[in-house]
Amino acid sequence: MNRRHFLYTAALGAAPWARAQSDGPLLVIGHAGVPRVDAATVARLYTGRAIEADNQPVTVYNLAPGHALRNRFLAVCLQFDEERYRAYWTVRRHVGKGAPPREVASVAQMLEVVTRTPGAVGYIDAASAAGHTGLNVICRL
């Protein structure tokens, strides 16, 4: 596989074809005030090719490797599996293009860190959002 090809495909090629799966939409959530974005921008944020949502700097968070929701997010948003996503960042970080998103261990931690961290962006599934009022959903995948 051409590893450098990852650097590009994820950000520009994958997002337009992303689609929600049958087990409910994924919700991309942001700290209060983070503006709404489209799926292509979410893909660019999680591949390090963008740092802004509508001109506002953001910090993206990922679930830890192995988490089922992370796998689903990578597949839906980037059309990557875990191996390809890791390979993508392995190359990108070692060519001086930044480090992969910070990681949290669980959906509960994701909700907590996005709620309390200005500019934070993360993702959850629709079921996990139940009972949480006032979530800032910036994109549905």
Binding site: N2, V91, R93, V95, G96, G98
Partner: protein, 433 residues
Amino acid sequence: MRTLLAPLVLLAAMAAPHAAQAQDIAWSGFATLGYAQSPDVPGRYLRWIDDNGTFNADSVAALQADWRINPRWSATVQLKAAPSEKSDDQWQLRPAWAFLAWRPDDAWLVRAGRMRLPLYMYSESLDVGVAQDMARLPMEMYSLVPTNEYNGLSVGHTRATSLLPDGELSVEAYGGRIGTTARFWLRDGAPPQVPAGERFVGVNVAVVGLVTTLRNPRTTVRLGLHEARTSRPSGERTPVDYPFVSIAPGLGYYKVSDALPGPPIETVPRIRNLITTLGVEQQLGDGWRVAAELARNKQFTTRLGSNTLGGYVTVFREIGAFTPYVSAGRLQTSNRQMDLYRGLIGTQLPPMIPGAAQINASQRIAAESIYVANQSSWALGMAWHTPWGGSLKVEHASTRIGETTRLVDTPPGQPSPENQRFGTWRLSYSVAY
């Protein structure tokens, strides 16, 4: 060095009082253990490769820290262990990257510190074995400069473009300095003053360049213009040419030293090279891919020094976890340099003339100080992206030396290889985490 120290000190200082935010420093690393052997090379290829085999030519390891200060600012330090540029017998641990990066918005990227010189299409990833399918990037292209790092400033801008479907156009301007060591091989030297063997000469290089890259998911096209001005740290000047001194009909010598009789040697404080590079990578579908690069390294000012045209074409085919490839490369020195090289090597004073041996030896040393290389290579190899992580690669390359090549060290007293072919085996395993 001062430019390099700034981000290092900053990284250390800013990391210390924020220990609670240790998760903002991301650690990573990569390594390649590579073995290379040539059973029939007439000497040693690429400093170390001969019939005995070596791990020096292709092995490297690095540890990297990325500090994510905030979405706009970051700092990166990469410590790399690799064979020394100043000795054939030692390894060296040195910072390959040490820079601060600032992204004022999605389009702009400004970096300052020590970075990779963006000379080649795969410059940024050439140490990272898992990022490449080739066991080693072709030396006919990837031997333009003795080092690939510079201290300076880089400004890049990236935007979407309609020139290609889903296209992206990026422009990077950079400038800085390289303090490095040029290695020369003296077959015979001029004992006892100048011993035979490797000789390391410090050089300062001021570089500026502009690189434009157009890409989309299938295509990458990269054009670079780079100017290098090279001088000696000691202030020693570089000869423009060596005048020929005739002492009798059909008999004479090149005046390669001011100690020899003859007209003065014109010198300059620095020499200038203009390097133009063009690279293309194209996905062809069904797992096929082709990559090609071309470099014209044009020497101004002097008849000494590198003045070359080189490049390669490689075709890959991805078959599951395996990627076999075939590659062809060629490197050719310009006639202007070759004519001087031929003159210096071919002019021999007869032994009955006093001092003839020393003059002949000096002419040979002067010739060997010109970076002449005429060679071409074929390579057949394969990369296997193993299920346990990492890449295992094997390659056999067949290299044909033309008139001569500086990439082969000729043992003392032996004839310089000419119109000869030799093979090189490589086996390497690369990991990254």
